[in-house]
C-alpha cells in the first residue's frame, strides 16, 4: 500500500556528482517553506505543480505526481553505478521534509534496497518529523545561511531557531552532517556572519565537512519564466579569490572546508 503513496517531484537528476559521495541520483521534492532571495530553484518553492513558460507559446508544468514505486523504479535503474562508486540517492528540494510521509517512505524503501541515502535540507523542520527518519539517513547536507535571526528572516522568510537547534541535536545524535554555506556577496559573506557561523559551529562541536557554495545567477531566467520577481538584480558572484579567502578563514578551525559541493 505504502508504495502507492504519492508526492510531488520536480526533477530527477541522474549522475548527480555534487550531492554526496559517489555517483548519485538526486530526487528533487517540490515545496519549500523558505524563499531565499538567491534561490536558484524558484520553481521548487511552491508545493503544488505550477506553470512554467519555455517559449512564447510553450509552457511546461513543473512538478509531477509520482508514487513511491515509480520513484524507486527510477532510482534502482542506476544501482550498478551506486555500487561501483559508493554512491546512492540524495533527496533534495525544495525542502524534502515538506513532504514528510512521502520522504519517510522513500527513505525506508531505499534502506530496504541497501542504498546510501543523503538528505539535502534547510533544517527548517520540526524535530518530531525529523527524528523518526534519522536511522534511514546516512548523511545530511545541511544549509547554514545566516546566524543573525533578523537577517535570516529578511532574506529567507523564516526564523532560524529551529534550524540551529536541529543542527545541535543532529550532532548530539552523532549523525553525519555536511555543512553547506551559500556565499552570497553582501548578504551571507559579511565578516560578522562568517565569524558567527564559525563560532557557532565550534560551540556545537562540529567537526565534519564544510562546503562553501558560490552564489550563481543560473536561476534568474527561471524567475521570469515563473512570472516572479528576482530581488538580487546586478549581484555578481564572488570572485574565486574571495572564495579562497573565506575558505582560509574557516580552514584554521575546520580543516575539511572546501569550495563547491
Amino acid at each position: 500500500m505504502g508504495n502507492q503513496l504519492s508526492g510531488i517531484v520536480f526533477d530527477i537528476k541522474k549522475f548527480a556528482i555534487h550531492d554526496g559521495p559517489g555517483i548519485r541520483t538526486t530526487i528533487f521534492l517540490k515545496g519549500c517553506p523558505l524563499s531565499c532571495w538567491w534561490c536558484h530553484n524558484p520553481e521548487s518553492q511552491q508545493l503544488e505543480p505550477q506553470k512554467y513558460l519555455t517559449g512564447p507559446n510553450f509552457q511546461e508544468i513543473i512538478g509531477k505526481t509520482m508514487n513511491v514505486a515509480e520513484v524507486m523504479n527510477e532510482i534502482l535503474k542506476d544501482r550498478i553505478f551506486y555500487d561501483e562508486s559508493d554512491g546512492g540517492v540524495t533527496f533534495s528540494g525544495g525542502e524534502p521534509f515538506m513532504q514528510p510521509k512521502y520522504l519517510a517512505k522513500l527513505l525506508d524503501e531505499c534502506k530496504k534496497q541497501g542504498l546510501h541515502t543523503v538528505v539535502d535540507t534547510s533544517g527548517y523542520v520540526s524535530w518530531e518529523i525529523l527524528e523518526p527518519m534519522l536511522s534511514n539517513i546516512d548523511l545530511f547536507l545541511y544549509d547554514l545561511k545566516l546566524i543573525d535571526n533578523e537577517s535570516h528572516k529578511k532574506y529567507t522568510g523564516v526564523d532560524n531557531h529551529e534550524i540551529l537547534n536541529n543542527l545541535i541535536r543532529l550532532i548530539e545524535n552523532h549523525q553525519n552532517v555536511h555543512i553547506r554555506i551559500p556565499i552570497i556577496p553582501s548578504i551571507t559573506d559579511s565578516e560578522a556572519n562568517l565569524v558567527s557561523i564559525k563560532n557557532y559551529l565550534k560551540q556545537v562541536h562540529f567537526t565534519g565537512d564544510i562546503s562553501l557554495l558560490s552564489y550563481n545567477t543560473f536561476g534568474i531566467r527561471k524567475y521570469k519564466q515563473l512570472g516572479c520577481e528576482y530581488r538580487l538584480t546586478n549581484l555578481k558572484p564572488p570572485t574565486s579569490e574571495r572564495m579562497q579567502e573565506i575558505r582560509n578563514f574557516f580552514l584554521k578551525t575546520f580543516p575539511n572546508c572546501k569550495i563547491g559541493g
Partner: protein
C-alpha cells in the same frame, strides 16, 4: 620533448600531405615489362614489391632515430594504381577539395595522363570489382544502402602478434623453406600453388632485408661523408646503420632495434598494398616489455632515451597519412588518419594484469606528442589498476580524444564466442576503430558499412528508392496493408535480409578477386598460419578469417521505429501513408508534429525499456541475418557497430525520418543515441547502450561528450572512472570521450585559423576539428554534452 623531437613533430604536423607518384611509376614500370607478367601471380607481386623497395627514393631526415618512409619524404603519400587508378579528375578533386586534400604536382598529373592511366585503365582491381558486380548490387550501392571497403583499399584489418617482435625475417625464411620442403606433391592438388606462394613470401622477406640495408648504407654515407657533422649525430648515424644491418633480418636485441624492426615491417605492409588500418604493433607495452627487462637487467636501460625513441616512433606513424581516398570511400572515411590503434594494458597470456612500466611511458608519449597518428587505446580489465585508467583519463581530459577505452574482459568473451582459445583471446585487443581480432593470427576484414535506416526508408516505399528513382528492393507491402506493427516490422526484416544477401554475395566475389589478383605476400609472412598453410593472407592463409559488416544508425532506427509504433499503430493518430507523406515533404507545414516526434516520443539512450527495445530487436535481426554465415576463406561473417564518418554520408542519401530527423542530416553514430536525444545524463546512456548484446558483436562504438569542467578536478575524474567501470561491468565494449564545450567548437568554426590544433574525437579516431566537413562538425556539436551537475 627535446629540441629535435619538437622539430620532427613540427615538420610532421605542419607539412601539407602530397600525392607521390613514385610508387605508381615503379609498379607500372614493373608491370609494363612483359617478362614479369609470365610469373605466377604471387611471385609477380613479390617481385613488384622488391622492385619498389629497391628503387624507391629513401631518406633519413635530420635528427631521426627511427628511419624509413613509405614515400620519398614525410607525408608524401603513394598511390596504388593496381588497386585504384586515379583519373585526372580524381587528382583535381584531391588537390582542390577543402578538406583532406593532397597536393598534386603538374609532373604527377602529366605522368598519370601519359603513363599510369593508359596502362591501368580497366585493369585496376577497382575497375574489375565494379564490372563484376551485378545490377542489384550496383543499384543498392548507388542508393547508399551499403559501402564497399575493398573497392579502393586492400583488405588488411590485422595486427602484429608478439612473434613479429620475436623473430627476424631470416627466421621466417627458415620457416618458409621448411614449409616448402614439407609440400606433398603426391597427394596435395594445391601443392604447386602453395610453392609459388611460399617462394613469393621468401622473395618478399629478402626484399625487406635488402631495403633495410639500403638505409644502413645511407646512414653510413651520411655519417662519413660530411666532415662538419656533429660528432653525436655521427655516432647516431653509425648506430642506425648497425641497427638496419641487423633488423628486420634478425630478432631485435634491444628496445631501439625492436622499434626499428617493427617500423620496417610496418613499411613493408603499407607499401605492398594500401591495407585498411595500415598496420599495427598491437600490444605495444607487452611486445616491448622483454627488451625493457633485458636492458634493465644489463644495466643499459636509459629511460630518457627510450622516451625519445618512442616519440620518434610516434612521428613515423604521423608521417604516413591514409592513402588518398575518393568517391564513396572518401565519404565513409574522410580523414588522414590511417587507424593504426596501439593497445595498452590488458591481460597477459596467463590471465594476469598486463600493465607494466611501459604502459605508463606510452601514455606519457601520447600526451606529449598529441598528434593524430597513431591512435591509441587502453585495454581495461577488472584486474587493471585504477591508476592506469586514471592516467588515461588525465590525458583524455585535455581534450583530444585519445586514448579510447576498451573493456578487455568483454573483448575476450567476444573472441571466445568466435572460436578463439582463451590464451589467444587474452593476447588480443582492438584495432582500427573498435574491431576485435586475434592479434597476429587473424584476417578480420571490415567489408563495408550497412545503412539500416536507408532500408527502413525503402520499406516505407515498398522497395522503391525515391532518390535514385528505382525499385531496388522487393515489394514487401503497401503501407496501408500492414495490420499491426509486427506486420510492418516483418516487411522491414525482409528488406534487410534482401540487402544483406546482396552485400554478402558481392563480398564473396570481391574477396575472391583479391585472392586471385592481389595476394598480400609480404603481410602473409608475419600473420600466422600463412606460412604453415602455404596460403596467402588474402586467400584464407591466416589461422582465423572473419568478415564484418558494420551496422550504422542504431539510435536513428530505434527512435524511428518507436515513433512508427507509437503514433501509427498504438495511438493511431495518423496512418503510415500519412506519416510517409509528411516525411517526403521533409516536415514542411508539419512543424508541430516534428516537435512532437522529437520531444514527446520515447528515445533510445534514456534507459527507457520501451524505447531501447527497438534497438535490441533490430540488433537481434541483424545478428541473425549475418552472424555465422560462411565467407569464402573458411571463416565467418560477424557484425559490429561503428561508423567512422559514414553516418554523414548515409544520412545524406535518406529523406526525413520518423525520429524527427530532417532529410540529408547525419544519422546517429555507433551505438550512441541520436544527437541530443539523450536527456537523462550519461548513466542512462550507458544503461541503454548496455542493453545491446555487445558480446555477440566484434565491436561497438560509444561516444560521450563531456563539458571540460566536469573533468577539471580529480573528484570528477574519479566519477568518470566509476562510470566506465560500471559500463564495463555491464559488458560494454568500448567508450570514448570528447572533452570540449560547444562554445569552443563554434568559435573554431568561425575562426579556424585560431584553432588549428583543436583535435576532437570523431568515431573511433581523432581528427583536427577544422579538417572535418561542415556537416560532421555540426553533428559533433549537436551531440549531447554532459554537464557538471
Amino acid at each position: 620533448m627535446n629540441e629535435r623531437i619538437h622539430r620532427l613533430r613540427e615538420q610532421s604536423v605542419s607539412t601539407q600531405p602530397e600525392l607521390s607518384i613514385e610508387r605508381a611509376k615503379l609498379i607500372t614500370e614493373f608491370y609494363q615489362n612483359h617478362e614479369n607478367q609470365q610469373y605466377p601471380t604471387p611471385i609477380m607481386r613479390a617481385l613488384a614489391f622488391r622492385h619498389i623497395l629497391e628503387n624507391k627514393e629513401i631518406c633519413i631526415n635530420e635528427g631521426e632515430l627511427i628511419v624509413g618512409e613509405r614515400g620519398p619524404a614525410p607525408l608524401a603519400t603513394p598511390t596504388y594504381p593496381e588497386i585504384c587508378c586515379h583519373t585526372l579528375k580524381d587528382l583535381d578533386i584531391l588537390h582542390n577539395r577543402p578538406k583532406i586534400s593532397f597536393k598534386v604536382t603538374e609532373e604527377t598529373k602529366k605522368l598519370t595522363q601519359s603513363v599510369i592511366l593508359p596502362f591501368w585503365k580497366g585493369k585496376s582491381i577497382r575497375d574489375k570489382i565494379f564490372s563484376e558486380m551485378d545490377q542489384e548490387w550496383i543499384a543498392a550501392y548507388k542508393a547508399g544502402v551499403f559501402t564497399e571497403f575493398m573497392e579502393q583499399r586492400a583488405p588488411g584489418h590485422t595486427v602484429a602478434g608478439k612473434q613479429v617482435f620475436q623473430k627476424g625475417m631470416l627466421d621466417f625464411i627458415k620457416e618458409i623453406q621448411q614449409s616448402i620442403s614439407k609440400l606433398d606433391f603426391l597427394n596435395d592438388p594445391e601443392a604447386l600453388m602453395k610453392r609459388d606462394q611460399l617462394r613469393a613470401m621468401n622473395i618478399a622477406a629478402e626484399a625487406i632485408i635488402a631495403f633495410a640495408h639500403r638505409y644502413a648504407e645511407l646512414a653510413r654515407t651520411m655519417a662519413n661523408e660530411n666532415s662538419a657533422l656533429d660528432p653525436q649525430r655521427k655516432r647516431e648515424l653509425l648506430q642506425i646503420a648497425e641497427i638496419c644491418d641487423w633488423v628486420p633480418a634478425h630478432t631485435p636485441r634491444n628496445f631501439w632495434e625492436a622499434l626499428q624492426h617493427y617500423w620496417f615491417i610496418h613499411l613493408g605492409v603499407i607499401t605492398e598494398l594500401n591495407t585498411w588500418d595500415s598496420f599495427n604493433p598491437g600490444r605495444l607495452d607487452q611486445n616491448l616489455f622483454p627488451f625493457y627487462q633485458k636492458e634493465l637487467a644489463e644495466g643499459k636501460w636509459d629511460e630518457e632515451f627510450a622516451r625519445e625513441l618512442l616519440q620518434a616512433f610516434w612521428i613515423k606513424f604521423n608521417n604516413q597519412p591514409a592513402p588518398p581516398k575518393v568517391g564513396v570511400t572518401a565519404e565513409e572515411s574522410n580523414t588522414y588518419t590511417d587507424f593504426c590503434n596501439i593497445n595498452i594494458g590488458g591481460l597477459k597470456a596467463d590471465g594476469s594484469d598486463g600493465t607494466n612500466p611501459l604502459s605508463y611511458m606510452i601514455l606519457d608519449t601520447i600526451q606529449q606528442m598529441r598528434i593524430l597518428q597513431p591512435s591509441s587505446n587502453v585495454q581495461i580489465s577488472k584486474k587493471t589498476p585504477d591508476r592506469l585508467l586514471m592516467r588515461a583519463l588525465d590525458i583524455i581530459k585535455t581534450g583530444f580524444g585519445q586514448p579510447s577505452i576498451f573493456n578487455c574482459d568483454a573483448i575476450i568473451q567476444e573472441l571466445l564466442r568466435q572460436g578463439k582459445d582463451l590464451v589467444e583471446a587474452r593476447l588480443s585487443g582492438a584495432s582500427g576503430c573498435v574491431e576485435v581480432g586475434a592479434f597476429g593470427k587473424e584476417a578480420y576484414i571490415l567489408t563495408g558499412y550497412f545503412n539500416i535506416v536507408k532500408v527502413l526508408e525503402i520499406t516505407l516505399h515498398n522497395g522503391f528508392d525515391s532518390r535514385t528513382q528505382k525499385q531496388i528492393g522487393p515489394r514487401t507491402g503497401e503501407n496501408d496493408t500492414f495490420e499491426n506493427y509486427e506486420a510492418f516490422f516483418e516487411a522491414f526484416k525482409k528488406q534487410l535480409a534482401y540487402f544483406i544477401d546482396i552485400k554478402i554475395k558481392g563480398n564473396q566475389i570481391i574477396e575472391q578477386l583479391w585472392a586471385r589478383e592481389l595476394p598480400a605476400v609480404f603481410l602473409s609472412i608475419i600473420i600466422e598460419d600463412c606460412i604453415k598453410k602455404g596460403k596467402d593472407y588474402n586467400a584464407g592463409g591466416a589461422r582465423y578469417n572473419s568478415n564484418y559488416i558494420q551496422m550504422v544508425g542504431m539510435g536513428s532506427i530505434s527512435d524511428s521505429l518507436a515513433a512508427i509504433k507509437k503514433y501509427v499503430f498504438d495511438e493511431k493518430s495518423l496512418t503510415l501513408n500519412e506519416l510517409v507523406n509528411i516525411l517526403d515533404k521533409n516536415f514542411e507545414g508539419y512543424h508541430d508534429f516534428r516537435h512532437k516526434l522529437i520531444n514527446d516520443t520515447p528515445k533510445y539512450g534514456n534507459d527507457d525499456d520501451y524505447a531501447d527495445r527497438f534497438a535490441q530487436e533490430v540488433f537481434d535481426v541483424l545478428f541473425d541475418l549475418v552472424d555465422g554465415r560462411p565467407n569464402s576463406k573458411g571463416g565467418h561473417y560477424r557484425i559490429n557497430l561503428l561508423p567512422t564518418t559514414v553516418h554523414v554520408y548515409f544520412g545524406s542519401v535518406i529523406g526525413a525520418t520518423p525520429d524527427g530527423r530532417e532529410a540529408m542530416m547525419p544519422l546517429s553514430e555507433g551505438i550512441s543515441p541520436v544527437q541530443g536525444a539523450d536527456i537523462k545524463g550519461p548513466t542512462a546512456v550507458l544503461k541503454s547502450a548496455a542493453k545491446l548484446d555487445h558480446l555477440r558483436t566484434g565491436g561497438t562504438l560509444l561516444n560521450q561528450k563531456f563539458n571540460p569542467s566536469l573533468l577539471q578536478e580529480e573528484s570528477g575524474l574519479i566519477k568518470v572512472l566509476h562510470l566506465i567501470r560500471s559500463y564495463f561491468k555491464m559488458d560494454g565494449h568500448h567508450i570514448q570521450f570528447n572533452v570540449v564545450d560547444a562554445a569552443t567548437l563554434r568559435a573554431a568554426q568561425k575562426n579556424p585559423e585560431q584553432y588549428r590544433n583543436l583535435i576532437v574525437r570523431v568515431a573511433g579516431y581523432s581528427d583536427y576539428f577544422i579538417n572535418l566537413g561542415q556537416k560532421l562538425q555540426e553533428e559533433i556539436i549537436r551531440r549531447t554534452e554532459h554537464q557538471n551537475f
